[in-house]
Protein backbone atom coordinates (compact mmCIF):
# COMPACT_ATOMS: atom_id res chain seq x y z
CA UNK A 1 0.00 0.00 0.00
CA UNK A 2 2.76 2.37 1.02
CA UNK A 3 4.68 1.54 -2.16
CA UNK A 4 1.64 2.34 -4.26
CA UNK A 5 1.23 5.68 -2.51
CA UNK A 6 4.93 6.41 -3.07
CA UNK A 7 4.50 5.70 -6.79
CA UNK A 8 1.41 7.91 -6.94
CA UNK A 9 3.22 10.71 -5.22
CA UNK A 10 6.17 10.38 -7.59
CA UNK A 11 3.83 10.58 -10.61
CA UNK A 12 2.12 13.59 -9.11
CA UNK A 13 5.45 15.35 -8.58
CA UNK A 14 6.58 14.55 -12.12
CA UNK A 15 3.34 15.81 -13.65
CA UNK A 16 3.49 19.00 -11.63
CA UNK A 17 7.13 19.59 -12.57
CA UNK A 18 6.18 19.18 -16.25
CA UNK A 19 3.34 21.68 -15.89
CA UNK A 20 5.72 24.14 -14.21
CA UNK A 21 8.18 23.75 -17.11
CA UNK A 22 5.36 24.07 -19.64
CA UNK A 23 4.45 27.37 -18.02
CA UNK A 24 8.07 28.50 -18.31
CA UNK A 25 8.22 27.41 -21.96
CA UNK A 26 4.98 29.15 -22.87
CA UNK A 27 5.97 32.40 -21.20
CA UNK A 28 9.42 32.48 -22.80
CA UNK A 29 9.95 33.81 -26.31
CA UNK A 30 10.24 31.58 -29.33
CA UNK A 31 12.10 32.90 -32.32
CA UNK A 32 12.81 36.60 -32.59
CA UNK A 33 10.45 37.10 -35.51
CA UNK A 34 13.41 38.61 -37.33
CA UNK A 35 16.96 37.61 -38.04
CA UNK A 36 19.30 37.57 -35.06
CA UNK A 37 22.20 39.38 -36.73
CA UNK A 38 22.01 43.15 -37.26
CA UNK A 39 21.25 43.85 -40.91
CA UNK A 40 20.32 46.65 -43.22
CA UNK A 41 17.81 46.53 -46.07
CA UNK A 42 19.64 47.21 -49.33
CA UNK A 43 16.88 46.43 -51.81
CA UNK A 44 13.10 46.08 -51.77
CA UNK A 45 10.73 44.83 -54.41
CA UNK A 46 7.12 43.86 -53.86
CA UNK A 47 7.27 41.98 -50.50
CA UNK A 48 10.94 41.03 -50.93
CA UNK A 49 13.64 42.61 -48.79
CA UNK A 50 17.30 42.01 -49.46
CA UNK A 51 19.21 42.18 -46.19
CA UNK A 52 22.91 42.77 -45.76
CA UNK A 53 24.39 41.58 -42.47
CA UNK A 54 26.38 44.08 -40.45
CA UNK A 55 29.34 43.52 -38.16
CA UNK A 56 29.55 44.28 -34.44
CA UNK A 57 30.17 47.97 -35.12
CA UNK A 58 27.14 48.20 -37.39
CA UNK A 59 29.16 48.37 -40.60
CA UNK A 60 28.78 46.16 -43.68
CA UNK A 61 31.48 43.54 -43.99
CA UNK A 62 33.84 43.20 -46.88
CA UNK A 63 34.93 39.93 -48.46
CA UNK A 64 33.44 37.64 -51.05
CA UNK A 65 29.66 38.06 -51.31
CA UNK A 66 27.35 35.24 -50.26
CA UNK A 67 23.62 35.38 -50.95
CA UNK A 68 21.36 33.14 -48.83
CA UNK A 69 18.12 32.16 -50.56
CA UNK A 70 15.50 30.65 -48.21
CA UNK A 71 12.28 28.93 -49.25
CA UNK A 72 9.56 31.43 -50.13
CA UNK A 73 6.97 29.43 -48.14
CA UNK A 74 8.69 29.84 -44.78
CA UNK A 75 10.32 32.60 -42.76
CA UNK A 76 13.82 33.54 -43.86
CA UNK A 77 15.31 33.78 -40.39
CA UNK A 78 15.79 30.05 -39.94
CA UNK A 79 19.13 30.88 -41.57
CA UNK A 80 19.77 33.52 -38.88
CA UNK A 81 17.79 32.14 -35.97
CA UNK A 82 19.61 33.11 -32.79
CA UNK A 83 22.91 34.84 -32.00
CA UNK A 84 24.66 31.53 -31.36
CA UNK A 85 22.52 29.62 -33.83
CA UNK A 86 22.93 31.52 -37.06
CA UNK A 87 24.16 29.90 -40.26
CA UNK A 88 24.38 33.27 -42.02
CA UNK A 89 26.07 34.86 -39.01
CA UNK A 90 28.64 32.07 -38.91
CA UNK A 91 29.49 32.54 -42.58
CA UNK A 92 29.72 36.32 -42.08
CA UNK A 93 32.13 35.92 -39.17
CA UNK A 94 34.28 33.69 -41.38
CA UNK A 95 35.02 36.71 -43.60
CA UNK A 96 32.17 36.90 -46.10
CA UNK A 97 29.85 39.75 -47.01
CA UNK A 98 26.52 38.05 -46.37
CA UNK A 99 23.15 38.94 -47.86
CA UNK A 100 19.84 37.20 -47.14
CA UNK A 101 16.63 37.33 -49.13
CA UNK A 102 13.43 37.77 -47.13
CA UNK A 103 10.64 36.95 -49.56
CA UNK A 104 8.07 38.23 -47.05
CA UNK A 105 4.47 37.06 -46.94
CA UNK A 106 2.67 37.20 -50.27
CA UNK A 107 -0.55 39.15 -50.56
CA UNK A 108 -3.69 38.12 -52.46
CA UNK A 109 -2.39 39.66 -55.70
CA UNK A 110 0.82 37.61 -55.51
CA UNK A 111 -1.12 34.42 -56.23
CA UNK A 112 -0.27 35.16 -59.88
CA UNK A 113 3.48 34.93 -59.20
CA UNK A 114 5.03 32.03 -61.09
CA UNK A 115 8.44 30.39 -61.21
CA UNK A 116 9.71 32.90 -63.75
CA UNK A 117 8.75 35.80 -61.48
CA UNK A 118 10.76 34.28 -58.64
CA UNK A 119 13.81 33.15 -60.64
CA UNK A 120 14.15 35.69 -63.43
CA UNK A 121 12.58 38.48 -61.42
CA UNK A 122 13.15 38.55 -57.68
CA UNK A 123 16.21 36.29 -57.46
CA UNK A 124 17.98 37.61 -60.56
CA UNK A 125 17.55 41.21 -59.47
CA UNK A 126 18.73 40.37 -55.94
CA UNK A 127 21.90 38.83 -57.37
CA UNK A 128 22.32 41.89 -59.58
CA UNK A 129 21.95 44.18 -56.61
CA UNK A 130 24.49 42.22 -54.55
CA UNK A 131 26.91 42.34 -57.47
CA UNK A 132 26.40 46.09 -57.83
CA UNK A 133 26.89 46.79 -54.13
CA UNK A 134 29.97 44.62 -53.76
CA UNK A 135 31.32 45.30 -57.27
CA UNK A 136 31.78 41.56 -57.66
CA UNK A 137 30.59 40.32 -61.06
CA UNK A 138 29.96 36.83 -59.68
CA UNK A 139 28.83 35.88 -56.19
CA UNK A 140 28.30 32.79 -54.03
CA UNK A 141 24.75 31.51 -53.56
CA UNK A 142 23.45 29.31 -50.74
CA UNK A 143 19.91 28.05 -51.36
CA UNK A 144 17.84 26.28 -48.73
CA UNK A 145 15.02 23.85 -49.58
CA UNK A 146 12.80 25.43 -52.26
CA UNK A 147 15.19 28.37 -52.22
CA UNK A 148 17.79 25.87 -53.42
CA UNK A 149 15.57 24.91 -56.34
CA UNK A 150 15.24 28.57 -57.31
CA UNK A 151 19.01 28.99 -56.94
CA UNK A 152 19.73 25.94 -59.10
CA UNK A 153 17.42 27.16 -61.85
CA UNK A 154 18.90 30.66 -61.67
CA UNK A 155 22.46 29.32 -61.81
CA UNK A 156 21.67 27.20 -64.87
CA UNK A 157 20.35 30.32 -66.60
CA UNK A 158 23.05 32.75 -65.44
CA UNK A 159 26.14 30.68 -64.66
CA UNK A 160 28.55 33.56 -65.21
CA UNK A 161 27.13 35.41 -62.20
CA UNK A 162 27.69 32.59 -59.70
CA UNK A 163 31.09 31.71 -58.22
CA UNK A 164 30.02 28.79 -56.05
CA UNK A 165 26.65 27.21 -55.41
CA UNK A 166 25.52 25.54 -52.17
CA UNK A 167 22.25 23.62 -52.16
CA UNK A 168 20.80 22.65 -48.78
CA UNK A 169 18.16 19.91 -48.69
CA UNK A 170 17.11 20.77 -52.21
CA UNK A 171 14.91 18.15 -53.82
CA UNK A 172 16.07 17.12 -57.29
CA UNK A 173 14.39 13.78 -58.00
CA UNK A 174 10.66 14.32 -57.53
CA UNK A 175 9.94 10.63 -58.00
CA UNK A 176 11.61 9.66 -54.73
CA UNK A 177 8.71 8.86 -52.46
CA UNK A 178 8.00 10.82 -49.31
CA UNK A 179 8.59 14.46 -48.61
CA UNK A 180 6.46 17.54 -48.87
CA UNK A 181 5.83 17.19 -52.61
CA UNK A 182 4.31 13.75 -52.14
CA UNK A 183 2.19 14.84 -49.22
CA UNK A 184 1.02 17.91 -51.12
CA UNK A 185 0.21 15.59 -54.03
CA UNK A 186 -1.86 13.39 -51.69
CA UNK A 187 -3.59 16.47 -50.27
CA UNK A 188 -4.64 17.76 -53.66
CA UNK A 189 -1.85 20.02 -54.90
CA UNK A 190 -2.46 18.62 -58.37
CA UNK A 191 -5.73 20.52 -58.21
CA UNK A 192 -4.03 23.91 -57.90
CA UNK A 193 -4.80 25.95 -60.95
CA UNK A 194 -2.10 27.77 -62.88
CA UNK A 195 -4.57 29.85 -64.86
CA UNK A 196 -6.92 30.71 -62.01
CA UNK A 197 -4.66 30.52 -58.96
CA UNK A 198 -5.53 31.19 -55.35
CA UNK A 199 -3.37 32.28 -52.48
CA UNK A 200 -2.85 28.98 -50.69
CA UNK A 201 -3.52 29.72 -47.00
CA UNK A 202 -0.77 29.18 -44.45
CA UNK A 203 -2.98 26.80 -42.50
CA UNK A 204 -3.19 24.50 -45.53
CA UNK A 205 0.57 24.48 -46.05
CA UNK A 206 0.99 23.83 -42.34
CA UNK A 207 -1.38 20.91 -42.76
CA UNK A 208 0.91 19.38 -45.39
CA UNK A 209 3.89 19.63 -43.06
CA UNK A 210 1.90 18.07 -40.22
CA UNK A 211 0.89 15.20 -42.48
CA UNK A 212 4.53 14.39 -43.19
CA UNK A 213 4.98 12.25 -40.13
CA UNK A 214 1.75 11.28 -38.46
CA UNK A 215 2.58 10.56 -34.85
CA UNK A 216 5.37 13.09 -34.59
CA UNK A 217 4.31 16.13 -36.56
CA UNK A 218 0.61 15.51 -36.26
CA UNK A 219 -1.36 17.42 -33.68
CA UNK A 220 -1.66 14.59 -31.13
CA UNK A 221 1.88 13.43 -31.83
CA UNK A 222 3.33 16.85 -31.21
CA UNK A 223 1.35 17.42 -28.03
CA UNK A 224 2.60 14.06 -26.74
CA UNK A 225 6.11 14.89 -27.88
CA UNK A 226 6.04 18.20 -26.04
CA UNK A 227 4.66 16.56 -22.91
CA UNK A 228 7.44 13.96 -22.91
CA UNK A 229 10.09 16.60 -23.57
CA UNK A 230 9.03 18.60 -20.54
CA UNK A 231 11.40 16.46 -18.45
CA UNK A 232 14.33 17.97 -20.32
CA UNK A 233 16.44 20.87 -19.03
CA UNK A 234 15.08 24.41 -19.44
CA UNK A 235 17.66 25.54 -22.04
CA UNK A 236 16.94 22.51 -24.19
CA UNK A 237 13.24 23.32 -24.01
CA UNK A 238 13.89 26.88 -25.13
CA UNK A 239 15.67 25.41 -28.17
CA UNK A 240 12.67 23.20 -28.88
CA UNK A 241 10.37 26.21 -28.64
CA UNK A 242 12.57 28.30 -30.91
CA UNK A 243 12.74 25.64 -33.59
CA UNK A 244 9.09 24.65 -33.27
CA UNK A 245 7.88 28.22 -33.50
CA UNK A 246 9.81 28.62 -36.76
CA UNK A 247 8.47 25.33 -38.16
CA UNK A 248 4.93 26.42 -37.28
CA UNK A 249 5.36 29.88 -38.73
CA UNK A 250 4.62 29.20 -42.38
CA UNK A 251 3.36 31.84 -44.79
CA UNK A 252 0.75 31.59 -47.56
CA UNK A 253 2.03 30.62 -50.98
CA UNK A 254 1.16 31.76 -54.49
CA UNK A 255 -1.01 29.07 -56.04
CA UNK A 256 0.46 29.64 -59.49
CA UNK A 257 3.97 28.99 -58.18
CA UNK A 258 2.89 25.79 -56.42
CA UNK A 259 0.98 24.62 -59.50
CA UNK A 260 4.04 25.17 -61.68
CA UNK A 261 6.39 23.52 -59.20
CA UNK A 262 4.09 20.53 -59.06
CA UNK A 263 3.68 20.24 -62.82
CA UNK A 264 7.41 20.59 -63.44
CA UNK A 265 9.04 18.84 -60.51
CA UNK A 266 6.29 16.92 -58.70
CA UNK A 267 5.83 13.15 -58.53
CA UNK A 268 5.41 11.66 -61.97
CA UNK A 269 6.58 14.87 -63.70
CA UNK A 270 10.16 15.14 -62.54
CA UNK A 271 11.30 17.49 -65.29
CA UNK A 272 14.60 18.34 -63.61
CA UNK A 273 15.72 14.74 -63.85
CA UNK A 274 14.23 14.43 -67.35
CA UNK A 275 16.16 17.59 -68.32
CA UNK A 276 13.03 19.21 -69.68
CA UNK A 277 12.52 21.85 -67.00
CA UNK A 278 11.87 25.43 -68.08
CA UNK A 279 11.65 28.86 -66.50
CA UNK A 280 9.20 30.82 -68.58
CA UNK A 281 10.13 29.78 -72.09
CA UNK A 282 13.81 29.23 -71.32
CA UNK A 283 14.98 25.63 -71.04
CA UNK A 284 17.11 24.67 -68.04
CA UNK A 285 20.43 23.15 -68.99
CA UNK A 286 22.30 21.98 -65.91
CA UNK A 287 25.36 21.34 -68.09
CA UNK A 288 25.87 25.10 -67.84
CA UNK A 289 26.57 24.70 -64.12
CA UNK A 290 30.33 24.29 -64.22
CA UNK A 291 31.26 26.16 -61.03
CA UNK A 292 31.86 24.20 -57.80
CA UNK A 293 28.62 22.91 -56.26
CA UNK A 294 28.02 21.56 -52.76
CA UNK A 295 24.78 19.74 -51.96
CA UNK A 296 23.81 18.73 -48.42
CA UNK A 297 21.04 16.32 -47.53
CA UNK A 298 19.72 15.27 -44.13
CA UNK A 299 19.46 11.56 -43.33
CA UNK A 300 16.23 12.05 -41.37
CA UNK A 301 14.70 14.62 -43.69
CA UNK A 302 10.95 14.17 -43.88
CA UNK A 303 10.40 17.19 -46.11
CA UNK A 304 13.03 16.54 -48.80
CA UNK A 305 14.09 12.87 -48.64
CA UNK A 306 17.87 12.47 -48.77
CA UNK A 307 17.80 10.21 -51.85
CA UNK A 308 15.85 12.82 -53.79
CA UNK A 309 18.34 15.50 -52.74
CA UNK A 310 21.46 13.45 -53.49
CA UNK A 311 20.18 12.89 -57.03
CA UNK A 312 22.01 16.14 -57.87
CA UNK A 313 24.87 13.76 -58.74
CA UNK A 314 23.15 12.75 -61.94
CA UNK A 315 22.47 16.35 -63.00
CA UNK A 316 25.70 18.02 -61.92
CA UNK A 317 28.32 15.29 -61.94
CA UNK A 318 31.05 17.32 -60.28
CA UNK A 319 28.83 18.32 -57.33
CA UNK A 320 30.15 17.48 -53.88
CA UNK A 321 27.38 15.61 -52.09
CA UNK A 322 27.24 15.28 -48.32
CA UNK A 323 24.63 13.55 -46.20
CA UNK A 324 24.40 14.67 -42.60
CA UNK A 325 22.78 13.06 -39.59
CA UNK A 326 19.69 15.04 -38.63
CA UNK A 327 16.52 16.46 -40.06
CA UNK A 328 15.53 19.12 -42.57
CA UNK A 329 15.74 22.01 -40.11
CA UNK A 330 18.21 20.50 -37.66
CA UNK A 331 21.14 20.41 -40.09
CA UNK A 332 20.90 24.15 -40.77
CA UNK A 333 19.77 25.50 -37.40
CA UNK A 334 19.94 22.69 -34.84
CA UNK A 335 22.54 21.80 -32.24
CA UNK A 336 24.47 19.71 -34.77
CA UNK A 337 24.37 22.34 -37.51
CA UNK A 338 27.97 23.41 -36.93
CA UNK A 339 29.22 20.56 -39.16
CA UNK A 340 27.34 21.95 -42.15
CA UNK A 341 28.29 25.55 -41.39
CA UNK A 342 31.97 24.65 -41.19
CA UNK A 343 31.92 22.64 -44.41
CA UNK A 344 30.05 25.43 -46.18
CA UNK A 345 32.65 27.99 -45.09
CA UNK A 346 35.48 25.72 -46.25
CA UNK A 347 33.71 25.14 -49.55
CA UNK A 348 33.10 28.85 -50.10
CA UNK A 349 36.77 29.50 -49.36
CA UNK A 350 37.69 26.87 -51.91
CA UNK A 351 39.30 24.47 -49.46
Amino acid sequence: MERELEAMLARSEQTRARLDRLHDVLTSGGHYGTGATPATVVYQENKLRLLRLLDESGQPRSGPAVLFVPAPVSRYFVLDLLPDRSFAGHVAKAGFDVFIIDFGAPGEEDRFADLEYYVEGLLRRSVRKVSAITTQPAINIVGYCLGGTLSLLYTALHPATVTRLVLLTTMIDGDVKGGIAWVAHQMGLAGESYDDPRLVPAVEIKGWFEMLAPGSNSLIGRVNDLWERLDEPADRLRDVRTMATWVDDVVPAPGRLLAELYHQFGPGRNRLMARTATVGTRPIDCAAITMPVLSASAAKDLIAPADGVDAIRSLVRHAEVMRLAGGHVGIVAGRTALALWQRTVEFLKGT
Binding site: E2, E13, L26, T27, G33, A202, E210, V223, L226
Partner: protein
Protein backbone atom coordinates in the same frame (compact mmCIF):
# COMPACT_ATOMS: atom_id res chain seq x y z
CA UNK B 1 23.73 10.57 12.76
CA UNK B 2 21.74 7.61 14.01
CA UNK B 3 19.08 5.87 11.96
CA UNK B 4 16.34 7.27 14.20
CA UNK B 5 17.63 10.85 13.67
CA UNK B 6 17.64 10.36 9.91
CA UNK B 7 14.09 9.07 9.91
CA UNK B 8 13.06 12.07 12.01
CA UNK B 9 14.49 14.58 9.47
CA UNK B 10 12.91 12.86 6.45
CA UNK B 11 9.29 13.87 5.90
CA UNK B 12 6.73 11.17 6.21
CA UNK B 13 4.59 10.11 3.30
CA UNK B 14 1.69 12.15 4.65
CA UNK B 15 3.90 15.24 5.00
CA UNK B 16 5.18 14.80 1.47
CA UNK B 17 1.64 14.40 0.19
CA UNK B 18 0.66 17.65 1.94
CA UNK B 19 3.70 19.43 0.49
CA UNK B 20 2.78 18.14 -2.95
CA UNK B 21 -0.75 19.48 -2.56
CA UNK B 22 0.68 22.89 -1.66
CA UNK B 23 2.93 22.77 -4.71
CA UNK B 24 -0.07 21.89 -6.87
CA UNK B 25 -1.88 24.92 -5.49
CA UNK B 26 1.13 27.08 -6.35
CA UNK B 27 1.25 25.67 -9.89
CA UNK B 28 -2.45 26.26 -10.30
CA UNK B 29 -2.18 29.84 -9.06
CA UNK B 30 0.78 30.48 -11.38
CA UNK B 31 -1.35 29.42 -14.35
CA UNK B 32 -4.33 31.46 -13.15
CA UNK B 33 -2.10 34.45 -12.55
CA UNK B 34 -0.64 34.23 -16.05
CA UNK B 35 -4.11 33.87 -17.55
CA UNK B 36 -5.29 36.99 -15.72
CA UNK B 37 -2.23 39.17 -16.23
CA UNK B 38 -0.90 38.03 -19.59
CA UNK B 39 -3.37 38.38 -22.44
CA UNK B 40 -1.25 36.23 -24.69
CA UNK B 41 -0.94 33.32 -22.28
CA UNK B 42 -4.27 31.79 -23.28
CA UNK B 43 -3.21 32.03 -26.92
CA UNK B 44 0.05 30.25 -26.07
CA UNK B 45 -1.94 27.59 -24.22
CA UNK B 46 -4.32 27.23 -27.15
CA UNK B 47 -1.41 26.85 -29.55
CA UNK B 48 0.21 24.22 -27.31
CA UNK B 49 -3.07 22.31 -27.12
CA UNK B 50 -3.08 22.20 -30.92
CA UNK B 51 0.40 20.76 -31.04
CA UNK B 52 1.95 24.05 -31.99
CA UNK B 53 4.33 26.37 -30.19
CA UNK B 54 3.76 29.46 -32.30
CA UNK B 55 5.34 32.31 -30.41
CA UNK B 56 3.36 35.47 -30.00
CA UNK B 57 0.82 34.74 -32.68
CA UNK B 58 -2.41 32.77 -32.88
CA UNK B 59 -2.63 29.42 -34.61
CA UNK B 60 -3.23 29.98 -38.33
CA UNK B 61 -6.78 29.45 -39.42
CA UNK B 62 -8.45 29.60 -42.78
CA UNK B 63 -9.58 33.16 -43.40
CA UNK B 64 -13.36 33.44 -43.50
CA UNK B 65 -14.80 33.71 -46.96
CA UNK B 66 -16.11 37.19 -47.50
CA UNK B 67 -19.70 37.19 -48.66
CA UNK B 68 -19.22 38.86 -51.99
CA UNK B 69 -21.20 38.68 -55.14
CA UNK B 70 -19.79 37.11 -58.30
CA UNK B 71 -19.48 40.58 -59.76
CA UNK B 72 -17.49 41.85 -56.76
CA UNK B 73 -15.25 38.79 -56.90
CA UNK B 74 -14.58 39.37 -60.59
CA UNK B 75 -13.71 43.02 -59.90
CA UNK B 76 -11.41 42.06 -57.04
CA UNK B 77 -9.78 39.48 -59.29
CA UNK B 78 -9.14 42.08 -61.99
CA UNK B 79 -7.77 44.52 -59.42
CA UNK B 80 -5.41 41.84 -58.10
CA UNK B 81 -4.21 41.17 -61.64
CA UNK B 82 -3.57 44.88 -62.15
CA UNK B 83 -1.75 45.13 -58.82
CA UNK B 84 0.45 42.15 -59.64
CA UNK B 85 1.17 43.60 -63.09
CA UNK B 86 2.31 46.77 -61.29
CA UNK B 87 4.65 44.65 -59.14
CA UNK B 88 6.09 43.18 -62.33
CA UNK B 89 6.51 46.66 -63.78
CA UNK B 90 8.23 47.75 -60.58
CA UNK B 91 10.70 44.91 -61.10
CA UNK B 92 11.30 45.88 -64.71
CA UNK B 93 11.85 49.47 -63.64
CA UNK B 94 14.41 48.28 -61.11
CA UNK B 95 16.17 46.43 -63.93
CA UNK B 96 16.29 49.64 -65.95
CA UNK B 97 17.67 51.60 -63.01
CA UNK B 98 20.30 48.95 -62.31
CA UNK B 99 21.31 48.98 -65.96
CA UNK B 100 21.64 52.77 -65.88
CA UNK B 101 23.79 52.47 -62.76
CA UNK B 102 25.97 49.93 -64.53
CA UNK B 103 26.32 52.18 -67.55
CA UNK B 104 27.35 55.08 -65.37
CA UNK B 105 29.78 52.80 -63.60
CA UNK B 106 27.82 53.70 -60.47
CA UNK B 107 30.53 56.27 -59.67
CA UNK B 108 29.72 59.40 -57.74
CA UNK B 109 29.88 62.44 -59.97
CA UNK B 110 31.12 65.72 -58.51
CA UNK B 111 29.18 68.80 -59.44
CA UNK B 112 30.66 72.27 -59.41
CA UNK B 113 30.98 73.16 -55.78
CA UNK B 114 28.62 75.89 -54.77
CA UNK B 115 27.94 77.65 -51.54
CA UNK B 116 25.05 75.44 -50.48
CA UNK B 117 26.12 71.93 -51.33
CA UNK B 118 29.55 70.86 -52.36
CA UNK B 119 28.97 67.18 -51.67
CA UNK B 120 29.42 64.50 -54.28
CA UNK B 121 26.05 63.30 -55.48
CA UNK B 122 24.90 60.52 -57.72
CA UNK B 123 23.64 61.54 -61.08
CA UNK B 124 19.97 60.68 -61.41
CA UNK B 125 17.99 60.79 -64.63
CA UNK B 126 16.01 64.03 -64.33
CA UNK B 127 15.03 66.06 -67.33
CA UNK B 128 14.61 69.25 -65.28
CA UNK B 129 18.17 69.29 -64.07
CA UNK B 130 21.06 70.69 -65.98
CA UNK B 131 23.22 67.78 -67.19
CA UNK B 132 26.17 67.21 -64.92
CA UNK B 133 29.62 67.64 -66.25
CA UNK B 134 31.01 64.34 -67.45
CA UNK B 135 34.01 62.80 -65.78
CA UNK B 136 37.25 62.30 -67.54
CA UNK B 137 38.58 58.86 -68.11
CA UNK B 138 42.19 57.87 -67.61
CA UNK B 139 42.81 58.43 -71.30
CA UNK B 140 41.51 61.96 -71.02
CA UNK B 141 38.43 61.40 -73.14
CA UNK B 142 35.10 62.58 -71.86
CA UNK B 143 32.64 59.86 -70.84
CA UNK B 144 29.55 61.03 -72.66
CA UNK B 145 27.29 59.63 -75.29
CA UNK B 146 27.90 62.67 -77.51
CA UNK B 147 30.63 62.89 -80.07
CA UNK B 148 33.18 65.54 -79.31
CA UNK B 149 33.31 68.41 -81.76
CA UNK B 150 36.17 70.74 -82.39
CA UNK B 151 35.48 74.35 -81.62
Amino acid sequence: MSESDASKSEPTLVERWLQDQQQWQRTLFTYLDSMMKNDEFLMHMGNAMRGSLLAGKPYPTTPPQAATSTEDAATADRLDKVLFALHQLQGQMQDVLMTLDEIRGARPIRLKPDSTNAKAIRLKPDSTKKPARATRTASGARKTGKRRTRS
